[in-house]
């Protein structure tokens, strides 16, 4: 179970999370998501290693911004004969992320 936790088990989505690749202005369908990354259906293949900014709209309308690196992009079977790809993205730290700040605030409250 510890290994499962560290590997961020995925949350399967039912289509209520929508993504937008800000750098390309492309809407995508998010298939699965974990704290480590996401997989999405895209109309074209992405080069592995490419970095993109993602804007995710959650089920209630809240939006969040994340930066991610493409780790794979494979053709997928579609029922209507169109070309589509499953693309995997790993979230990466943003230069503006300050992971320690909130913890310090909470530590001050708790001390």
């Amino acid at each position: 179970m510890g290994s499962e936790r560290r590997r961020s088990p995925r949350v399967a989505l039912l289509g209520q999370v929508h993504g937008h690749i800000a750098s390309l202005d492309v809407q995508v369908k998010v298939r699965e998501m974990s704290l480590g990354g996401l997989s999405m259906e895209t109309p074209f293949a992405f080069p592995v290693g490419a970095l993109h900014d993602f804007s995710l709209t959650l089920g209630d309308g809240a939006s969040v911004q994340l930066k991610g690196e493409v780790v794979y992009s494979r053709p997928m079977a579609t029922t209507d004969g169109t070309t589509a790809f499953v693309t995997g993205v790993r979230f990466v730290a943003d230069e503006t992320d300050d992971a320690g700040g909130a913890e310090q605030i909470i530590d001050r409250i708790s001390s």
């Binding site: 179970m1 590997r7 995925r10 209520q16 809240a62 939006s63 913890e103």
Partner: protein, 252 residues
């Protein structure tokens, strides 16, 4: 405020019982290797809800990690634990006095607490009754206990919770994706291993129940600007997004 509290890994020390049983069944296991606090800290999820064993990112990419026990060993430990009479009443409290403090705060501040757990069956009383008796013994009288498997987000939404406290990142992610509740992740491991996306997705990360309760009390103080959960969000330095923030204000 309505708060959902996970049991194992947050309040109840399943880890110690799990590791002791694992070492007894498999003496060849290195206790140090399985001594990480997240090993056996929560009950297992059903098959098919975790990543691939080879770590290949078939779908959503996941961080790589050590595998201290095989799936077969883990299953054997659980098979044994499920035979222990009223096993869930035998656990210790992770942070001594935390449950009694939670009970006192709930009374003082009129918080409604719902304990949520995915514990599997064990011999003896029902899981719900064992959990209730354990909580009462730890200082929380008349606890509301919900034994349920499946999406924590949908549970949070159905129960109209304002905040969910959980030690599993995937449960916290599920909460912020599938409900209007805020999520607080109790992360007892190294801070360096907290997924970079947690805060971006509006998940507050703390290392102890004490810090969680302190933050909830701070956010609950009257007179501060904004709704209770807005204050909590600011407290944790979480980013907001238009049209609403990941912590989206109380429903009360």
């Amino acid at each position: 405020m309505r708060i959902g509290f996970d049991l194992d890994g947050c309040l109840a020390d399943l880890h110690t019982a799990f590791v002791q049983t694992a070492v007894r069944l498999y003496p060849e296991l290195d206790p140090a290797a399985i001594g990480s606090k997240d090993v056996g800290s929560s009950p297992p999820e059903p098959e098919g809800e975790t990543t691939t064993e080879d770590g290949t990112p078939e779908e959503a990419p996941t961080p790589a990690g050590d595998v201290p026990m095989t799936r077969q060993q883990t299953d054997a430990v659980w098979t044994h634990l499920e035979t222990v009479e009223n096993f869930w009443e035998t656990l210790g409290e992770i942070e001594s006095g935390a449950i009694a403090r939670l009970a006192a705060l709930a009374d003082e501040r009129r918080w409604e607490i719902i304990f949520i757990t995915s514990r599997p069956h064990s011999a003896g009383l029902t899981v719900q009754r064992q959990s209730q008796r354990w909580l009462q013994r730890m200082g929380f009288p008349l606890p509301s206990c919900f034994v349920v498997h499946g999406s924590r987000g949908r549970i949070a939404e159905a129960l109209r919770l304002d905040v969910v406290v959980d030690d599993r990142p995937e449960n916290c992610l599920d909460v912020v994706l599938e409900s209007k509740a805020g999520a607080i992740l109790i992360w007892r491991g190294s801070k360096a291993n907290v997924p970079v996306s947690a805060r971006r997705l509006g998940i507050a990360v703390v290392s102890t129940v004490k810090a969680t309760l302190d933050a909830l009390v701070e956010a609950d103080k009257p007179g501060s600007e904004g709704g209770l959960l807005d204050r909590l969000r600011r407290l944790f330095g979480l980013r907001t997004g238009s049209p609403s923030s990941p912590f989206r204000g109380t429903r009360s």
